[in-house]
């Protein structure tokens, strides 16, 4: 492995890790604050990708498609939260797991009914169609750098909201003691609806961003969901910081694994998780 190849892999790992963070942050926020384990999170990633594909086809413009798809994703999150999750907050995780598992079946099949079982792709959008020359014969696509930058900016925004705004104070307080926040006259129900919609929209947005650089296929949400679970378990459930570093670690492992240890590549992230569980059962940043 020469240096240029190493650099490309490093950039790929970074970009993939940041994308994973976007999905995992929603997952960890929804659990940390609402106490809900949302298996349908991966399905939202898939729906985001399909929305980007469909609307780009119709409108002919990727950016316009995203501008319309994000509110749709937020609305979908709102409907799911109000319709189904409302009754689940005080119940065991078991029922949350089952209900969101049922949601996966419904959303996956709805995808098949609407968009069919074919694999699709989205063209790289202007003005990011080009590549940067790293060396004489190694190119790196600009769009991937753009995705990494957007994810990083969003990570910064999430950090800023949670650390430095009034909403962030309420979110942090709600994660520590729900009843106390309610007792102080804050409407925790509205907060929950907001968190769920935003969390789910983050996953869908990640799917939209990933659409031009990945193949859009049925069931694409399932594998990303499991990967994000590994990220969240490694980082510590409910910890945004943990999700960030966990996502980068897993992003690197997934890109370097097949090159460095091909025989173990498919299991590598789970082995890392097992190792973390052995040392710190509650995650690295919990």
């Amino acid at each position: 492995m020469d240096l240029a190849f190493f650099g490309v892999q490093l950039l790929n790992g970074l970009q993939y890790g940041l994308l994973l963070f976007l999905i995992a942050s929603g997952l960890t926020l929804i659990f940390g604050i609402m106490g809900i384990i949302n298996l349908a999170h991966g399905a939202m990633y898939m729906i985001g990708a399909y929305l980007a594909f469909d609307l780009t086809q119709r409108l002919g413009n990727f950016w316009l498609a995203i501008a319309i798809a994000v509110p749709i994703a937020v609305a979908l999150g709102l409907v799911i939260e109000r319709l189904f999750l409302d009754t689940l907050y005080r119940r065991d995780h078991l029922y949350q797991v089952l209900l969101t598992f049922g949601l996966i079946l419904v959303l996956n099949e709805a995808q098949r009914i609407i968009w069919g079982g074919d694999v699709h792709s989205v063209a790289l959008p202007e003005p990011f169609t080009g590549s940067i020359a790293l060396t004489d014969n190694l190119q790196y696509p600009v769009y991937r750098l753009f995705v990494a930058a957007v994810c990083l900016a969003l990570a910064g925004a999430i950090y800023w909201v949670i650390r430095h705004t009034r909403l962030g104070i309420i979110i942090r307080a709600g994660a520590v003691n729900r009843e106390m926040v309610e007792g102080l006259g804050i409407n925790i129900r509205t907060l929950f609806t907001l968190i769920f919609s935003v969390g789910v929209a983050l996953a869908a947005f990640a799917g939209m961003m990933a659409a031009p650089i990945s193949s859009i296929a049925p069931g694409m949400g399932d594998s990303i969901l499991i990967t994000c679970f590994v990220v969240v378990v490694i980082g510590g459930i409910g910890s945004i910081k943990g999700a960030f570093f966990g996502a980068l670690l897993i992003g690197m492992a997934e890109t370097f694994g097949p090159v460095l240890v091909p025989s173990l590549a498919s299991m590598l992230i789970y082995l890392i998780m097992a190792l973390v569980l052995l040392i710190k059962p509650r995650g690295l940043f919990a």
Partner: protein, 367 residues
């Protein structure tokens, strides 16, 4: 609640058993030409019942929600596929212990890791370990990858003759195999009923309610949990082996997490923590599946909605309906509680009317 069930449960289970045993008598009359097909369906229901009761030991009795239980189901299927000779049937006499030994060994390693976690972490880590093996088997060369492996010969069960050349019990015969699965289910059911009522089962029940208190009482709770985890894994592996015999192949989908979700649904649909409930759940789930599959190619959407509906309106499952029929609750909510009954002085009973609380306290304090 674990210890004694109302008589109607026993009657229903015995009726179900009798119905199964007598299938050759009524099956052809009811289903006509497709009788053999329905017997295969019933065989699968029995196999999934076995799978579901094994998960109930974890979810219902111990309170540990595993989303990776199909891992052990798959291990059973693949152990059979890998260990079967290519040109002759294996003997069930060593295949069954082998399947249990392999799944037991894996479950000790996995259990030691996942039992370090609780609640939501347990859900996520069991899911992740299940997927780890799923991806390993899907990509490994010796397992046939995503296509799976065919099993050329079903293991034979020879009694009396050691070579298995003329098996007394021919598992290739669908009816014999059906009875074989039924027998295993009955044995496992009785074993689990005995286990949950034994001292060991009481400890598991205690861990479910309050693990810290059990630790304070001097129980090494992790050891108990690990033993239960291993037992559940072994039963699941036997179910997986039977399923592989029935299908004639082992396939990565058998250990994927969708399969874990399905079996969890069977447990909840039937009623967790009751052992008999998950059997009803497995039958109900497979019947619904069969019905939906014939209704529309988009059956997963119906199944998904059914799952959501079951979670919202039937959290205690079918068993919950049987143990606590709905007609007596709600309107007379308070009257149901025995404490209130005991504390309420009865007219014309001088022994309880003056100091009802003092009367009832000795009985309560001893529990």
């Amino acid at each position: 609640m674990l210890h004694r069930y109302p008589k109607r449960v026993l009657v229903l289970m015995l009726a179900l058993l009798a119905l199964m045993i007598a299938y050759p008598a009524w099956g052809p009359a009811v289903f006509g030409d497709s009788s053999a097909f329905f017997m295969e369906k019933l065989t699968l229901m029995l196999i999934f019942s076995l799978f579901a009761v094994s998960l109930d030991l974890l979810v219902g009795i111990l309170g540990l929600v595993s989303l990776g239980h199909a891992l052990f189901f798959g291990i059973g299927a693949y152990t059979l596929a890998m260990a079967s000779p290519d040109f002759s049937p294996a003997s069930m006499w060593w295949m069954l212990p082998l399947v249990m030994a392999v799944s037991g060994g894996v479950s000790v390693v996995v259990g030691l890791l996942v039992l370090r976690t609780k609640g939501i972490f347990f859900i996520m880590t069991t899911l992740a370990f299940g997927q780890m093996l799923f991806y390993y088997i899907s990509t490994a060369s010796f397992t046939g990858g995503t296509d799976g492996v065919f099993i050329m010969f079903r293991p034979s069960l020879a009694i009396g003759s050691a070579d298995g050349a003329s098996p007394l019990i021919n598992l290739d015969d669908p009816l014999t195999f059906f009875y074989f699965c039924l027998t295993l289910l009955v044995v496992v059911y009785l074993f689990l009923r005995w286990l949950t009522r034994s001292h060991f089962g009481q400890v598991l029940d205690g861990i479910h309610d309050n693990e810290h208190r059990m630790q304070a009482l001097g129980y090494a709770t992790t050891g108990y949990k690990l033993i239960a985890f291993v037992i559940a894994a072994m039963i699941a592996a036997v179910a997986g082996m039977l399923a592989a015999m029935q299908y004639g192949f082992a396939n990565p989908a058998q250990l994927g997490w969708h399969h874990s979700g399905e079996v969890l649904m069977m447990v909840i649909l039937g009623g967790m923590g009751t052992i008999f409930g998950p059997i009803l759940g497995a039958f109900a789930y497979e019947l619904l599946l069969y019905f939906y599959e014939h209704l529309t190619p988009h059956w997963p959407i119906l199944m998904g909605l059914t799952i959501i509906l079951a979670v919202l309106v039937l959290p205690k499952g079918i068993a919950g309906l049987m143990l606590h029929p709905p007609r007596r609750s709600r309107a007379s909510g308070l009257k149901d509680t025995t404490l209130v009954e005991r504390l309420t002085p009865k007219a014309g009973d001088p022994s309880t009317s003056p100091r009802p609380t003092a009367k009832s306290s000795p009985g309560r304090s001893s529990s």
